[in-house]
Every structure is written in C-alpha cells, then in structure tokens.
C-alpha cells in the first residue's frame, strides 16, 4: 500500500516537468517578448526608455540567453518560490498572484463540495425512480445545465441579482476587505459572496456528474447481488445503502478527475464575466499582453491544482476500494 502511494507520488514528478516544458514553450511561442513591445510602446509615446532598466531586466531574466537556459533558470526559480517578474505590474509574480490563487482554490473547493452535495442525492433519486416524472424533470434540468454556456448563465444571474436583490454580485468579498489580511470576518464575507459564482460554475459539472452517476448506479442495481439481497428479504432502502451505493461511491470519488478540469475552466470564464479576483481575468490579460511569467505561473498553478486533485482522488479511491489497495503498485 505504501509502495502504491510512493509510486503514485513519484509519477507526478515527470508529469510536472513535462507540464512545465509545455507551459514554457507556449509562453515563448509568440514572436518578440514583453520587453520589446514595452520599449516600442514607450518610444511610440515619445518617452525615453531607461536603457539601464531594460538592460537590468534583460539580464535578470536571461532574455538574451538561449531557450534551454532560460527554461532551466525559470524552472529552478519556481522550485525556490521565485516565479519571475511581471512586466506589466512591475512586481514579482508571487506578489501579484498570491491572493488570487488562494481565492481560486477556495472557489473551486467550494464548487466541488457543492457539486457533490447536489449531484449525489439527485442521482440516487433519478436512478431509483427511473422513468418517473421526477427523473425526466431532473434529467431535463441536467441537460440544460450541460448546454447553457456558463458565461451566459453568469451574465443573466448577474442581471437578475441586480434586479431582484439589488446587490452587485461582482467581486468575492465586501469592498472593505479587499487587500486586507485574512481574518474571520473576511472569510465569512467571501463565503457569503461566493454562492452565486459557485452555482454558475457547478451547473455544468453537476449535470455531467448526475448523468454519469445515474448510469453507473442503474448498472449496479441490475446486478445479481442486488436480486439476491432482495430475495433474502432485505428492505429496499437497506439494499440500496448496503451494496450498490457503496459501489457507486468509488466511481463518485474517481470522477473528480473528470470534473476538476471542467470546474477550473468554468471558474476562469465565470470569473472573467463576474470580474472575480481569481486567476481568470488576470490570466486573460497576461496572455493578451504577453506578460509571459505571469501567464506561465497561472497555467502552471492551474495544472498543478488538477494534478494534485487527481492524486488526492486516487489516494481516496485506494482507501475506499480494496481491489486497488490489495494490488499495490501494479495498477494500470
């Protein structure tokens, strides 16, 4: 069992290295770099460029060195918590993104919990009441959740919140907490503000999860051991809780690998529409203005979130499912 855990954790390292190479290539792909466009912009405005600062930045970030060296420098820096320099904000990247990444984690985390809390009971209801009106209604709702792009949902919700509750739902906390250190009132304010984004973001993944879990549970309910349990005279509720539900639970945990990328994507685009202080809007800007280290750090961070999330779900699955636990490190 310990071997499986160690194996699984060690496997993350090459994955992360590959991810960092891809991220680096992507942010390097556009012709030119931020410094060049920055100089051009300043010159176009007729301002003089401080050649010393340019030379300093060029040297500091090794922009004059070959690609491989630049990559190694960047990757080495990240291991030490130095994510590079944001040219647009004139600050080290770690200072710019710290709070935003925390908020991204918080919003995604709440969304996952919400998705589970909503999808689980609904899927059980739909599977046990197959082809009832409730099942049809919930399925329709689920399909709508899949089909409506969440940025439109965000726009409409923002409008409705404005009309009905006369509150603005942009932002994630009361204005007085912005830029302040974390305290209990601030955390509460974030929780109060995050419910609308959470509903919007989770719409898609909840709908998907309900469909998959329902199909899975329906398969289990037709199996022989359920028939046997019924024939023995177990009450239906106990049959459900004792056997098929536990089988479906495994799937429930492993499914996080497929909903997590969706949730993070959803968080980003919803954040752009609602202008939430999470990674999304800033990543978009950084990509547009070629602020390469900022964009690279965001991409790296989001990918890391998924890798860690999948690791956690794998470990949880190991704890739950004896078939994996007993096989040790030879899965797959």
């Amino acid at each position: 069992m310990l071997r499986y855990v160690i194996n699984r954790v060690l496997l993350m390292i090459p994955t992360l290295i590959a991810i960092s190479i891809i991220v680096f290539l992507i942010i390097q792909l556009p012709p030119g770099n931020y410094l060049e466009s920055y100089i051009a912009e300043l010159q176009a405005q007729g301002e003089s460029v401080d050649p010393q600062k340019i030379a300093f930045l060029r040297k500091e970030y090794g922009l004059d060195k070959p690609m491989v060296e630049q990559y190694l420098y960047w990757a080495w820096g990240m291991l030490h918590g130095d994510f590079g320099y944001s040219f647009e904000f004139n600050l080290p990247v770690s200072k710019v993104i710290g709070d935003r990444m925390l908020l991204t984690i918080i919003v995604s985390g709440i969304t996952i919990v919400f998705t589970w809390a909503v999808a689980f009971p609904i899927a059980i209801y739909s599977a046990t009441h197959q082809y009832s009106w409730g099942d049809y209604g919930l399925s329709l709702l689920g399909f709508l959740g899949i089909a409506i792009p969440n940025f439109m949902l965000a726009l409409v919700m923002m409008y409705l919140a404005n009309v009905w509750f006369e509150t603005s739902i942009g932002g994630l906390m009361d204005p007085e907490f912005v830029g302040k250190p974390w305290t209990w009132p601030k955390a509460r304010s974030v929780l109060e503000h995050s419910w609308i984004p959470v509903i919007i973001i989770s719409a898609h993944s909840t709908a998907g999860m309900i469909r998959r879990l329902r199909a899975n549970l329906l398969d289990e309910l037709q199996k022989q051991y359920v028939v046997t349990a019924r024939a023995k005279g177990l009450p239906p509720r106990k049959v459900l809780y004792k056997y098929p539900l536990r089988m479906a639970l495994n799937f429930f945990v492993s499914d996080i690998g497929s909903i997590l990328p969706h949730i993070i994507s959803g968080t980003e685009i919803t954040a752009v529409v609602l202008s939430l202080p999470t990674a999304g809007p800033m990543l978009l800007n950084a990509l547009k203005s070629q602020d390469m280290y900022l964009a690279g750090s965001f991409l790296m961070f989001l990918a890391l979130m998924i890798v860690v999330g999948v690791l956690v779900s794998d470990l949880a699955l190991m704890a739950l499912d004896p078939r994996i636990r007993l096989q040790g490190g030879v899965t797959r």
Binding site: A18, P30, Y159, N162, L299, L302
Partner: protein
Amino acid sequence: MNPPAIAQSARELEHFVSEAPFDATSATRLTPQQERFYLASQWMLMWWKFKRHRLAVVSAIVLLLMYGSALMTEILVPYNLHTRHADFIYASPQSVHLIHEGRLVAPFVYELKKTLNMETLRREYWEDTSRRYPLRYFCSGDPYRFWGLVDMSFHLTCPAEGATLFLLGTDRLGRDVLSRIFYGARISLTIGLIGIALSFVLGIVFGGIAGYFGGLPDLIIQRVIEVIRSFPELPLWMALSAVLPVTWGPLLVYFGITGILALLDWTSLARSVRSKLLALREEDYCTAARLMGARPRRIIARHLLPGFMSHLIASATLSIPGMILGETALSFLGIGLRPPITSWGVLLNEAQNINVVALYPWLMLPVVPVIIVILAFNFFGDGLRDAADPYR
C-alpha cells in the same frame, strides 16, 4: 437377443409414417422478418436500433435541418451578414402580424418608428400601426455572391419596399441579428465537424500505435496523454489562441482555432482505441493476418479498426458539443475568432456586459441555437452509442 426376436418386436411396433413429401428445412424455417434481421449488415442493425430512440431521431432531424440551412444561408435570410442600417441601431425585435383591423390578412409588419428619449438618451422604437407592409416572398433583395461563386439576389422573404424586417432586432451597427445568427451557424457548426475530424485522425493514429505496439511507444503516448489531460482545457485553449499571430487572416485563424480545439480533444479517443486494440490484437484473425505478412498499418486499419468503428464514431459525436462550446467561449472572450468571421461566439461577444442584458437583451439570442445544437448533439450521440452497443 437373436435375430428372430428382433423381427418379432419390429412387427409389434407398428407406427405411423406420413405419406407427405418431407422438407428438411421446414422445422427451422425463419419468418421473413427474422430472416431479414439475421441477414442484415451491422450498419443496418444499428439503423434499426437507432430508429427506436425517438429523441435521437428528432435530434438528428434538427441537426440535419441546421446543417442544411447552413448550406443556403444567403437565400433563407432577409439581409446580408454585413448590411448596415444606420437609421435602425439597436432596434428592438419586430413582430410579424396576421390580423389587421379584425381581419386575417397575409403576414405583414408595421412601420418601425424611432424617437429619441431626451431623458435617457435612448432610441426608442415603436410600431406605427397606421400603415402595414406585407412581406414579400421569393423576392430579390440584398445582392450576394452565393457560396462566393454566383452573383445572386434571391431571398426567401424580404421586407416590403421602404419597410424593415428585423425579427430579432439589430445590433450596434444596425445589422439584422437573425440574419447574422444564420450566417454564424456556418462557422459554429463546421468548426465542430472539422475539429472532430482532426481529433479523430490524431486519436486513431496515436491510440493505434500505443495499443498495437505496446511497450515503449505505448508508455510515451500514455504519458503524453496524461500530461495533456492535466491541463484545464479553457486556460490552455486561451494560451494557445493567444499564440496565434495577429498577422494571420481570418481563414487561417479559423483553422488555427479548430486545430487548437482538436489538439486537446483527441486524448479520450486515443485511450479508447488503445484499450480496444490491446484486447483485439491477441485475436486469432489478427495473428493470421500477421502470418500472411500484412504490415501493422494494414492490420490496424483493415482488420482491427472496423470492429469498433461504430463505437468510435458514436463517442466522437459526443465530443462535438464540447468543441462548439469551446469556440463559443474563446470568441466570447475575444481571443477566438475575430470579425469579419462571424460565429455564434463572435455574436455573443457583443453581449458581454450587463448593460446589454438590461437594455438590448435580444443580442443574447445567439445563445439559443448554441443550446439547441449542444442538446441535439448530446441526444444524437447517446442514440448512436446505444445503437452501436451490441449488448443493449
């Protein structure tokens, strides 16, 4: 027993023998329906099974209609993609009436009048019911070049001379939203098809290599897939489309975006190809083909793939909606397709802020065809998958 005893018992056992001529196949003869079923090809069986899935059939018809309309957009819509009406900016949707002064008449519209509200500084549109303008059918209106080849001006419906026909309102340049939605269908619908074709090829090639050869190629491809799947789709799409050079023309950007969507989508297809091939390559017919000297490419493409092609097509159909949504999201954010190319996402880009929702809600209407297409592809794909599954 001795021979006379046998002869004795045979005499005692007199039994009935029918005089009618005997037909050896009569006992196992199939009804014509059964015969048709057993002789049907695999695709025929799938078609019969698919027909039973009502929702999927309806979705297939909806999709056919939509793709059909994309073929002759110019004829179906009253205006051209870029026709501007400077006098009718942000006009609200006009309705078609059938009843005039209590009598049923041919479909007509009232004149659209505009006043500037001096308090809110908004243009307010209202119908002047004093005059009615019947619609014209099979008429000549805005000239266009059909499929970029033939100069034509034929339209299914046009407004009457001097009148307007904005069934879904106009946008900030006075362009008819309905016409633009129809034109947008061309781009939005094809981007899913081209994208899936690309990812289908990628998935089969890489999945085929991984599954058939195993060993090191398999290990490498598996790791690559894992790395690609560790990225959240949208941010990576965003990053890649930000990389597309700004000097590219609209057509190149279109293919660039399609390529980006396909680049991240092939992994699930490759995985299912791989797992099927891993099982199938041990089959006897595969060994036979190999012993006869067939090359790997022929074995994979000729002997192994057809065995689960239907299943692959079904799962590919199910990933088209994701691509359409992806393009819509990218264009909505302003880093996907750019005008003059018009997709539903580009149209929604105009509906980006809350003012639009409050003041000009009809600009959000391009989301309706998006929802319809996504739903239709989902149901259609579900139907296909059930039909392709021999165990259901």
